[in-house]
Symmetry: D2
Subunit: 274 residues, 4 copies
Amino acid sequence: SKYEYVKNFEQDDRLLPNTWLVLRVDGRAFHKFSPAHKFCKPNDVRALNLMNAAAIACMKEFSDIVLAYGESDEFSFVFRKETKLFQRRNSKIVTAVVSYFTAVYVMEWNKHMLIKAPPKSQVQVLLDKNKTSSSPSLEPGTHNKPKDNTIDNPDQQAQDDGDPAPLLYPPQFDGRIVCYPSLQNLRDYLTWRQVDCHINNLYNTTFWSLILLGGLTETEAEEKLKTTLSKDKNEILFSGFSINYNLEPAMFRKGSTIIRKPVEKTITKMSPKR
Amino acid sequence: SKYEYVKNFEQDDRLLPNTWLVLRVDGRAFHKFSPAHKFCKPNDVRALNLMNAAAIACMKEFSDIVLAYGESDEFSFVFRKETKLFQRRNSKIVTAVVSYFTAVYVMEWNKHMLIKAPPKSQVQVLLDKNKTSSSPSLEPGTHNKPKDNTIDNPDQQAQDDGDPAPLLYPPQFDGRIVCYPSLQNLRDYLTWRQVDCHINNLYNTTFWSLILLGGLTETEAEEKLKTTLSKDKNEILFSGFSINYNLEPAMFRKGSTIIRKPVEKTITKMSPKR
Amino acid sequence: SKYEYVKNFEQDDRLLPNTWLVLRVDGRAFHKFSPAHKFCKPNDVRALNLMNAAAIACMKEFSDIVLAYGESDEFSFVFRKETKLFQRRNSKIVTAVVSYFTAVYVMEWNKHMLIKAPPKSQVQVLLDKNKTSSSPSLEPGTHNKPKDNTIDNPDQQAQDDGDPAPLLYPPQFDGRIVCYPSLQNLRDYLTWRQVDCHINNLYNTTFWSLILLGGLTETEAEEKLKTTLSKDKNEILFSGFSINYNLEPAMFRKGSTIIRKPVEKTITKMSPKR
Amino acid sequence: SKYEYVKNFEQDDRLLPNTWLVLRVDGRAFHKFSPAHKFCKPNDVRALNLMNAAAIACMKEFSDIVLAYGESDEFSFVFRKETKLFQRRNSKIVTAVVSYFTAVYVMEWNKHMLIKAPPKSQVQVLLDKNKTSSSPSLEPGTHNKPKDNTIDNPDQQAQDDGDPAPLLYPPQFDGRIVCYPSLQNLRDYLTWRQVDCHINNLYNTTFWSLILLGGLTETEAEEKLKTTLSKDKNEILFSGFSINYNLEPAMFRKGSTIIRKPVEKTITKMSPKR
Ligand SMILES: Nc1nc2c(ncn2[C@H]2C[C@H](O)[C@@H](COP(=O)(O)OP(=O)(O)OP(=O)(O)O)O2)c(=O)[nH]1
Ligand SMILES: Nc1nc2c(ncn2[C@H]2C[C@H](O)[C@@H](COP(=O)(O)OP(=O)(O)OP(=O)(O)O)O2)c(=O)[nH]1
Ligand SMILES: Nc1nc2c(ncn2[C@H]2C[C@H](O)[C@@H](COP(=O)(O)OP(=O)(O)OP(=O)(O)O)O2)c(=O)[nH]1
Ligand SMILES: Nc1nc2c(ncn2[C@H]2C[C@H](O)[C@@H](COP(=O)(O)OP(=O)(O)OP(=O)(O)O)O2)c(=O)[nH]1
Ligand SMILES: O=P(O)(O)OP(=O)(O)OP(=O)(O)O
Ligand SMILES: O=P(O)(O)OP(=O)(O)OP(=O)(O)O
Ligand SMILES: O=P(O)(O)OP(=O)(O)OP(=O)(O)O
Ligand SMILES: O=P(O)(O)OP(=O)(O)OP(=O)(O)O
Ligand SMILES: [Mg+2]
Ligand SMILES: [Mg+2]
Ligand SMILES: [Mg+2]
Ligand SMILES: [Mg+2]
Ligand SMILES: [Mg+2]
Ligand SMILES: [Mg+2]
Ligand SMILES: [Mg+2]
Ligand SMILES: [Mg+2]
Ligand SMILES: [Mg+2]
Ligand SMILES: [Mg+2]
Ligand SMILES: [Mg+2]
Ligand SMILES: [Mg+2]
């Protein structure tokens, strides 16, 4: 029809050939989504498992993904350099994967989240112990006492966190694709994300220890951690709460890596092609 | 860290200012998804309502969408020219909307689809009548008789279509954004989609009439319609099955348009700004 | 051949249809090129005429340019919204125009520059008068006396500026294309450039008056002008040197605008086309 | 000013880091420019030298170009992978180089072109010999005799070609940049251009032999060569005109490669940086 000309306004967005395509999805506003759904602090093993399940489903659906790396509310998918998926059209690839990831996340929510989260972080383990013990032995002093207001009551928080929670509203993930020309760049990308995981997780573990176990307010905890280095945080955890950060679950400390297993295939070459 | 340099490989994909952004989402491989989920033919009012529900949710979530138009497995969202959403970053906008759309589609599936679809198309109405009547009056002749195999048994198909169906696997939507500089271009875009709706719906209505009511095979129906114009299809419907195409539900013939209601607001201007 | 695959690495860079394409060329490092070629200060009418000549040649060569606006070392070309030049491919258009502009600039150099520049700015007129007059009446005082060093000798400079100068090394112009969706945007673009012309020209006229006529060093002139507004500069010119800025040549104050004359054409329409 | 907003309409066009940037310039409509300027057939050594001179100037001006390859009316420039020239902004790089190339081409025209071209191709050598010899020994037969019309008179053409010719109108070069991620891609690119050079040059040498030495018209020559392979062309050259293609000058057969010489530098590293 005479209206079809509007299709010409679409831009061709094919990505550079012979580069690794790295697609990262990241939950939108999960600083609100996590507490709204009673995610355990500092890490919710159910939520991470749900992310992993969505990522595995994507790898099954999109066979050109060779590796996926996830942490917190994000997942990175590495497509093999030669991928011809959707002719390497940026919008098509990124939306198809984000859409599929979201669909699985929602569909598998109940399976993963409608259970009580088992305490995996030492923070949670100690918190559980404290709650059942008669004397709150780890409460260091008056100035650190949990403030007794309804808005910021760590005890209440601690009780709720990890409780089964139905999906209250639609989650949202953004996505982007970045091209990496060399294997070194790709490795550096993955290291970048894993360093991010480590930094954030060490911070969060210390932050929530100070609050949930130490009775600090969020503002106080933030203040205390402001100028600390990694070793200081390790020290706070150990001397303050007898938490050995290195004993935290590997998935929390290092994130999740999913690799496609190479399979043996017998190929009968028909005609010589380049 | 020294790995952060990889972030510089991200391309800036901000869209041209002062243009309407039209984002179209479209179900992936719905030629398989629809029959797998027993969508009514030629149109499933429940499925369309579900699409509309997802679109309305998107309009509520993204306040810069001023209009949405949907048909079949697609929806187009028009963002106002001035939108600053995500600084007009292409990937961010398209993935956020597609992700949200998908999430709502999945979350609201049961509410919309776990019911028996009411017959809305005259094709379905007649089919229901035929099934309960003793003599299949509309079967024109032997050569058109429904083939009695399980794979392509229209009677069976007709029974299943519209039955409540749980979500069997994660749906997937692609998305793209196109910039339109002028109001005329925008109007032509919407007309383009509506013409597409009309053409496809007239075709599908005739196609499925020939099969479900006329007993033709899909190949036969396709063959018969190959060279027909609109008026021929209207004629086939009317003389063959007493179906007046213009009496088909407007939503089927014209698609669904959702408009944001303008609200009155009193703005007290503080300082003159351009 | 088997090597042709490398052509697929080219990106499609077609520009959004139905937008005005504005291509701006700008001389590279003309803060060095101008003095090296003894451009008159603050404006060299020969150099501007050469720019105009190159721009006119471009308009003759590229018939879809409807308007050009030039000032200083830059020229902006406006292509009509409907242009199909090189299928609107960005690189092709921008390089073709920049290349042609450069070629004409070099080819016509001698014709325009191998003459003594006539004094057009009042600064030059006064300077010429002073040089021939016996007593340097405008030398305000000792502290403002022209410094007697070879590097920054205004008198010498004043003598050289405007002298015929052969092209010493290849000039270079950069170029870029910007899409503008609305006529208002296009107008604002042109106003933006013209405001830039005005601001710079008023500054330069005052700056060089202070140096060439007032005997200040460049540093002193810069310092004196640092906090001044437009009216202050007008005042300095008028009270200091009896220069009425509004009497400066229009081409200096407002830049050069070249418009393609619309011609009457009788078109015999053959077939109705949209 | 309030008009500056129009600057935001510029798109960020930075090219992917860590890839070789290959910039190819190509003369526009040189099928007309060459005969208009009496370029020798099949190759004009002066014109090629002029191209080479422009390319060398570019390599001197843009220090990140590591290699250049030229043939016919085109030149490819390879920028090192790490180049930060203009922050890798596509438009800036491509226009600067094209502009500079054009400027040098025009400026050095007279130096290279205002001489009589020495016969370098065997086609020209033989043609010169024939013209001075009394009997045209290489004229194969009546049907191949040079047609005696003014429009397409090979003899006249042959006389003019290679004569000193002033620059009649401004030349024009287009340019484009392509990113190549791997060394293999880069090598394949260069091979692609060199294969193009070989194919075209063998064709042109045979084509012009048939016309200039064999007396065929252009149409006849085209017809004769239509289905020929490389070896057929070699055969035509050798048996028809005693031309051994492999003895054609290397610059004609293989193009021109310019490499930046690596220099030894002592770098005293001050601080460890990545
Ligand atoms: N409690 C808890 N919170 C988590 C967990 N995983 C992620 N989160 C939260 C912590 C962060 O607030 C947030 C992820 O940080 P982001 O930088 O992605 O920020 P956010 O998603 O809020 O904003 P964005 O839309 O991505 O810019 O999600 C978890 O396992 N447990
Ligand atoms: N039975 C039935 N089918 C529908 C309905 N709405 C959409 N469909 C089907 C008809 C088409 O096969 C399909 C939409 O056509 P598309 O051009 O989008 O193709 P499809 O989604 O298969 O492929 P794609 O991934 O979009 O390229 O969805 C409906 O209400 N009822
Ligand atoms: N004396 C004199 N100088 C002029 C004239 N026209 C332009 N210029 C000089 C003044 C400025 O230094 C320069 C133009 O400013 P730009 O902002 O384009 O800077 P420039 O070309 O040096 O650097 P760029 O490579 O464009 O970033 O050219 C003229 O007529 N007379
Ligand atoms: N006689 C002669 N012609 C040459 C020489 N070098 C290049 N040419 C001509 C032969 C071709 O017609 C033309 C180069 O071919 P192109 O594919 O670049 O075509 P052209 O420049 O005409 O069109 P374009 O604007 O690049 O699409 O230049 C030469 O040394 N001698
Ligand atoms: O979202 P952030 O702040 O973690 O960092 P980013 O994802 O690089 O930023 P953006 O989502 O705005 O691209
Ligand atoms: O998907 P189609 O075939 O209806 O048409 P399209 O959406 O324009 O094609 P694509 O999805 O490949 O962009
Ligand atoms: O060159 P400038 O500084 O006058 O400003 P610009 O042209 O917008 O900057 P750039 O040439 O770097 O695009
Ligand atoms: O110009 P051609 O035909 O030799 O081939 P190309 O340079 O790849 O084509 P274009 O100049 O249109 O990009
Ligand atoms: Mg983010
Ligand atoms: Mg997030
Ligand atoms: Mg995150
Ligand atoms: Mg599609
Ligand atoms: Mg679809
Ligand atoms: Mg569709
Ligand atoms: Mg600039
Ligand atoms: Mg400049
Ligand atoms: Mg300038
Ligand atoms: Mg070309
Ligand atoms: Mg060419
Ligand atoms: Mg060429």
